[in-house]
Symmetry: C2
Subunit: 114 residues, 2 copies
């Protein structure tokens, strides 16, 4: 289970992939495999959360957390990661990765805080 | 604190806004105000998490959770919400909202599970 918090010491990568229907299963399998075999062992990796779009199933989003910007940059140059990224780029119609920091977290008025 | 889980009974809206630098503070203030004054009181709202891009500060993302697709659809037609959305559309260069379901959650190999 991943958590989203303000003032936490992590950065967030939100990567949105669009993909033709014929290739969507291949892409989601690749994203899961890349995360489970490689990403999760890398320094600074906290969590990856793969999402599939509800309406068209033509988009996937990875909401991933890394400890520091530098950890994410090192990952991009990792020789084990590069082939996964090349495969994803070949399968997807577009890839739109952006790095973020959390500004505000707001839950429902009647949410139970524990 | 928001949480991301597999097989949870919620849907996820990831809405990516791009914005000119001169308007970024207005946009983030608007997103926070809309969430705190209106969204969080609506049926089915679980959480909104506003993110600011790290490199350029020209993008914001809202990672929001709603109980059901129908709750999100009702929100889009709510007369209190519509003016907020019109203001956001006027401030942003582009808005790209997509609804998702969580497919896979993966944390670091050595993560502590509680």
């Amino acid at each position: 289970m991943a958590t989203i918090e303000e003032k936490t010491s992590c950065i967030t990568l939100i990567n949105v992939f669009t993909v033709e229907s014929a290739k969507q299963q291949q892409l989601v399998d690749l994203l899961i495999k890349a995360t489970e075999t490689t990403m999760r062992r890398l320094p600074g990796f906290i969590a990856a959360n793969i999402h599939r779009s509800v309406w068209t199933a033509l988009a996937f989003a990875n909401y991933a957390q890394w400890r520091r910007v530098e950890d994410h940059q090192k990952m991009l140059k990792n020789p084990e990661v590069i082939p996964h990224m090349q495969q994803a780029a070949a399968l997807a119609t577009s890839i739109d990765p952006k790095l973020y920091e959390v500004v505000e977290v707001c839950d429902a008025e009647n949410a139970q805080h524990t």
